[in-house]
Symmetry: none
Amino acid sequence: MSKATARDTTTYDRILEAATDVIAQQGYSGAGVQEIIEKAGASKGSFYFHFPSKEKMVEALVQRMSEKLMAKVEEAMAGQPTPLHRVTASIDALMTTFAGQRKVAQVLLLNIIGHGRATDRKFLPIRQQFSALIQKELEAAIAAGQAPPQDVVLVSQMWVGAVHEVILRWLLTGQPSPLSSATPVMQAAFLRSIGADPAPYLTSHRHKA
Amino acid sequence: MSKATARDTTTYDRILEAATDVIAQQGYSGAGVQEIIEKAGASKGSFYFHFPSKEKMVEALVQRMSEKLMAKVEEAMAGQPTPLHRVTASIDALMTTFAGQRKVAQVLLLNIIGHGRATDRKFLPIRQQFSALIQKELEAAIAAGQAPPQDVVLVSQMWVGAVHEVILRWLLTGQPSPLSSATPVMQAAFLRSIGADPAPYLTSHRHKA
Amino acid sequence: MSKATARDTTTYDRILEAATDVIAQQGYSGAGVQEIIEKAGASKGSFYFHFPSKEKMVEALVQRMSEKLMAKVEEAMAGQPTPLHRVTASIDALMTTFAGQRKVAQVLLLNIIGHGRATDRKFLPIRQQFSALIQKELEAAIAAGQAPPQDVVLVSQMWVGAVHEVILRWLLTGQPSPLSSATPVMQAAFLRSIGADPAPYLTSHRHKA
Amino acid sequence: MSKATARDTTTYDRILEAATDVIAQQGYSGAGVQEIIEKAGASKGSFYFHFPSKEKMVEALVQRMSEKLMAKVEEAMAGQPTPLHRVTASIDALMTTFAGQRKVAQVLLLNIIGHGRATDRKFLPIRQQFSALIQKELEAAIAAGQAPPQDVVLVSQMWVGAVHEVILRWLLTGQPSPLSSATPVMQAAFLRSIGADPAPYLTSHRHKA
DNA sequence: AATGAATGAGCTTTCATTCAT
DNA sequence: AATGAATGAAAGCTCATTCAT
């Protein structure tokens, strides 16, 4: 019925998809509105009808990406028996998801110019959310006697950083290949670092080339 | 005696100093040549007399910063008896140095837009250098029986990420305060994560508010 | 009826017209985009919306001018009975057209800095086109026995130069006045130079002050 | 005795020589003072000690070149018996000299942006001088009955243009090769164009590959 | 005579945003 | 909802010229 121009999606969605591509390739400030609308098959006016500014548009994009990502992570954690099983599973889920969606990783992890302006902090939230998630499970693990008491805020932050860096290297150099091959090493290191025995949490793992 | 004003230094240095300030606040692409020269008390022509481009100027700045930083880290490592003592000391040195030079941390750690362009990779080397440094000591530690065999490349990368993230949080939120209070926790976590007993390497540490 | 002000035409055309004025006065490299848009009543952004660069804009301008000029010349040649009548007519047409459009002459004939860069060769084609045109007729004239065999490439080039120089003097000094008064002299000289009798080709000529 | 830095010439001369090279390659406005002094082995201050401005420096250069050129032409004319022999000889001398000094031709003939500013007219004088020279001989030839009365100003101008164009083509395309092969054709065409019989003036000519 | 750091107006080009249709 | 021409501030960079030494 409708004269679906480019694909049969809304202009709003097509802009967000095009923006993902362009930001993944060029970065936030390298991504021009012009290029985005060209890829989206939209017009300048259309862009500014749907979004008040380039900035808000990226916020919407990051928001959407974060939500999908966190949903996957939380889904993976849901089926696990203990707090540490859940943290282990979350690391796996994160690695697996980014490995499967390179562009999401590029958009979410490659743009850090977190200066004064609120503008730039927009790429940080996912890291904080993931950190909060680990922190919660860590507290539960300590309460359950799975790990000794420790600075959970700091430790969870550290592990977000570790995961981030490994993915970053993969984005920039392609190593390790596949990315998921790093997962068991990271999980074991994590568990040891918090004073827990890795053995019980890793038995089920297997990765494919 | 006198409170050395700007005019005491060479134009070259004043530009680099002003650039540090501006990039720390606004990031690489947010830092305009105009603003830098205004802060430096120089002119456009003078800027381009000393540097062929904004890009090369930042390269010179990052180079200079990296060298000073690595010198401090290597100096701190030099006095240590074993490989793991050296890694522990390097983490301490890094944290201490960044804590004392907030702007250096901002310039070096807050600019990651590694998208294709050579331009942006300019801020990565320090991380790679630090990673290589840890990796070397880790290999020595394994050879010396201080730690079990493991993927040293991955592990060193992870720890660079962990340290980076902790400093990043400190830059953006001010936590933990002081930054150096996180050092012993990180050192212990690191040592446990590689399968070493933290006890022998941490006795001498004390931090001041 | 109304004295069509600037606003009657498209921005694209107004820019091209303004550029004609400015380049006629200041030359290609002396013509600033700023000055052009001011005269055109347009904005910087508008200029670069319509043209990808100053260079491409000048190419479009020269192209348009050349086409109009060659059309007039070819039209004048069309009604002529023999090759030499056509050459004679083409010289007349060229002189008449330039005399009536001083600025076109200034833009097309006053910019010669043919140094390597493709940029500068942009102003040469008209001369080459006109030369090719004469050459063709010359060959026909020789084939028809109107003139003895000779180096047509060289001869046509020479005559383009001769015409160019006469117009150039007129542009710079105002002599001869009117420019068209030089036409019969040039035509006769041309015909004699190629070994033809001027008489049959010049009878109909008359010029007005 | 003296510490002859670059060559054993004066700075003044070295600047002028370097300017010849740079202007020949890049044209007047493409020739930067910086590049000239680098080639000359001089300094900015030195340049402005010897010349009040880039413009005046080019004037001095053109002046010097023109003088040398005209001297050669006049020398070639000196040994000739009649006015038309002299014109014929002057064309030969001009072609020969330019063929032997490509850079001089490039500087003198390739820069024509003769607009409002006095600046740009600086490359015109040689053409005018040469034109005046031909004109004088033409008048003498007419007075001597070697040629019929005609518009000597216009005719001499035309022939300067013709010669200019032929050399220009040679500069830009390399044709004809050698340049001097065009000389007899031009001389004959010239003589015929003014109503004189070429035969008596061309017998002695021979050119070498 | 000579040096080279410094100047600043000027250049072309980019880009998020606006607005009449 | 959508269009695309128009805007103008700001960007990085160039260059003839000046001046203290």
